[in-house]
Amino acid sequence: MQTLIQTFIDRRGDLLTALWQHLGISLASLVIAMVIAIPLAIWVVRRPRWAEGLLQLTSVLQTIPSLALLGLLIPLVGIGTVPAVIALVIYALLPIFQNTYLGISEIDASIEEAADAFGMSRMRKLFKVELPIALPQIIAGIRTALVLIIGTATLAALIGAGGLGTFIMLGIDRNDTSLLLIGAISSALLAILLSALVRWFQTAKPRHALIVFVGILALLGGGGAYSVYANRVETITIAGKLGSEPEILINMYKQLIEAEDEHVHVTLKPNFGKTTFLFSALKNNQVDIYPEFTGSVLETLGKGNNPAGQTANQTYQLAKQRLAKQEQMTYLKPMQYNNTYALAVTKKFQQEHHLKTISDLTQVESILKPGMTLEFIDRNDGLKGIKKTYGLDVTAKSMEPALRYEAISKGKINLVDAYATDSELRQYHLALLKDNKHFFPTYQGAPLMKTSFANKHPKVVKALNKLAGKISETDMQEMNYEVNVKKQSASTVAHRYLVKHGLLKEGR
């Protein structure tokens, strides 16, 4: 509970931003869905055949899993707010359309006849008779849609639209329950609050309802206008994948670029999504720069065969060539650290047995007690390959990622798999063993951007190249540790590193 409160206090700025984004996306989607669904429902009331078809269609749309829908939208409209809003609108259509349609079509035939017999025009009948009678049902539909939207909008974080989902994603990614709870609770509270507001609209005096409605519009509009105002100078947008490490890196990028060129303003989009989302965001000019791993380029992004046993430099060169050729992108020089799969032992164990490389493990084969993630044990480029390449004969226990660090610190196991820059390595005093046979593919981070962008911004390129060959694995572990465990801000941690290594002058 205390950590929850502490996290809440530390993150309240971020939470407010996320809440605002969430509200914006949700309300925009709701309004668009209403504008589409209500007139459509009114139109089909006298066309039962159309109504049947449209009800079917909206029901089918409703059954598409939200993740799949977001996935389908990416190739069409890219990532960010637009596909998120489209997806949410699609979900909100059914309840609003259905309730409006039923609300009007279920009006007693005799009341319709009375309205006709008194010579009401179509419009007058609609606004004076039909809509008022159907109103409670329409409002109920809107409330259902609203709750649905606010819940589903948490997925918007997956495609870089921000919102409260960012907290949930981060919570899952960092195994941080407090973050996850804050995201989930806020979104639930938001749903309850807005639902109550909509109900109030139904019963409130028209004048009060109008004032509140205009107020909300003005707030949102003001927010929108402000963001336009804030973005009026041409800004560079830098995004990062989920997690602390990309967030630290993009903060370094920002500080280096702004120090190099005073006329450039850098906007950061941390925790923007996963590899392919970011890559298509870059392609669609929604993002100008993001840090990418050499290994990921070869594995997921570029096309071509990937020869085994490549050195770090060979991997980088191959990735650079492919990106330049296939995507017209520029891949700047990588930093030193290699965030790949690795094997780690406790420092104590390492010193006792004089271990430096993975090959050294063969000498202590008989006393090894490995505990590894199921994923790693099962992969050909994981434990299976290691055993073959290094002639190692061990059997590993499969363990949950978080548990294996606990287990090794308590001496229940003595060898674990890890990512080379995990903050836990620092936290539990573990040492990495050198992959002397280059078995694991190299994952070195380097800034990726479009070639056209690089040509236009030589100062940015120059600034970013200062990081080439910098930051060792231990440096990165330390910084991840400071952000993940000691809860320092990524910006502070990045700044401290840059100053300490003479890349940036103190006191900016």
């Binding site: 007693d108 005799s110 009341i111 006849e113 009375a114 309205a115 006709d116 017999a117 008194f118 010579g119 009401m120 025009s121 007058r124 004076k128 008779v129 008022p132 009678i133 109103l135």
Partner: protein
């Protein structure tokens, strides 16, 4: 007398089936005309063709001499009130708003509308202060249909169409509302076309009655002529079928209508004659005849005729089966 509504060779088909083959009818201005018939006889369809709720298949209907198809449908309907069997007050509007529906569309001034509403409510015995802002759901069935009638007459239409307006009401409300219709008709002199399946209602209300069967008008006549000279067995039976379940509940007015009244005032002391309303039942009449010789049947305090016990017994023996 000028003609308000005229049916000329009107034909109506539903889904290719002719339900009204050839209807010819003239309704005079200021007349309360009742169309009576069993369900499916085409009476409601005939009514709805007047305000174009049902289109005609052939023939034409003239309203005040003009073919209805040549008048814009909304202005046609604005000059005709309409009262429905289902009452169908607009549930989201107050009593006052319901009554104001047509005057508002016609652009009558707000102040004038409000005044009319108060007058009309008072006229039907509902206190304006209390009832103006009530919702329809807060009213009894009888009260609702009062408002239904006021809604129809608020814009002072020349013609009011009523489609079985009281058939869903309890007997007491029904009688009160029938009286209300007679009173309003006497006061505003508008033309009323009233559809019902209840012959008693028809006899009570109608200046003239049209009996319909299978889409055809079988007989159009005054209540008395209809009662005394039915053109065929259908009319006679229809008339018979409308008798009360219990002979004691038969109206004295009905006995006079069918059996005929003594038109001369009997030459006895006035203390020997008891006055009874046409709506009084035979039960009351028998009680009166235990210590009187005659009953004087009155309608709106005007003597219609006289009955003695022989006449009533004769009526019972000829027209009512004693079960």
């Amino acid at each position: 007398m000028t003609t308000a509504i005229e049916f000329q060779h009107v034909q109506k088909d539903f889904n290719g089936q002719t339900v009204i083959p050839d209807l010819n009818l003239t309704i005079d201005q200021g007349e309360l005309f009742v169309l009576v018939g069993t369900s499916g006889s085409g009476k409601t369809t005939s009514l709805k063709m007047i305000n174009c709720l049902e289109p005609l298949t052939a023939g034409k209907i003239l309203v005040n001499g003009t073919d209805t198809t040549t008048i814009p449908v909304r202005s046609l309907r604005w000059q005709m009130g309409y009262v429905l069997q289902q009452i169908a007050l607009f549930p989201t509007m107050t009593v006052a708003q319901n009554i104001a529906v047509i005057p508002e569309m016609k652009g009558t001034a707000k102040k004038e509308i409000n005044q009319t509403i108060d007058e009309l409510l008072a006229e039907v015995g509902l206190d304006p202060k209390e009832y103006r802002d009530r919702m329809p759901s807060e009213l009894s069935g009888g009260e609702q249909q009062r408002i239904g009638i006021l809604r129809a007459i608020a814009a002072q239409p020349d013609i009011v169409l009523m489609d079985e307006p009281f058939s869903a009401l309890d007997p007491i409300s029904r009688q009160q509302l029938q009286d209300l219709v007679l009173r309003l008709h006497a006061r505003y002199h508008n033309t009323i076309v009233f559809v019902t399946h209840d012959m008693n209602e028809a006899l009570k209300l109608g200046d003239r009655i049209g009996v319909m069967q299978h889409g055809q008008l079988i007989q159009v006549d005054t209540p008395a002529a209809l009662a005394q000279h039915p053109v065929n067995d259908f009319v006679r039976n229809f008339f018979g079928a409308s008798r009360a379940k219990n002979v004691y509940d038969v109206y004295v007015g009905r006995v006079g209508l069918i059996q005929g009244y003594l038109t001369e005032k009997p030459s006895v002391a006035s203390g020997r004659i008891q006055s009874l309303d046409v709506q009084a039942t035979l039960r009351t009449a028998f009680t009166a005849l235990t210590d009187h010789d005659y009953v004087a049947v009155t309608e709106e305090n005007r003597v219609v005729g006289y009955l003695d016990s022989q006449r009533i017994v004769a009526y019972l023996s000829q027209h009512e089966e004693v079960s």
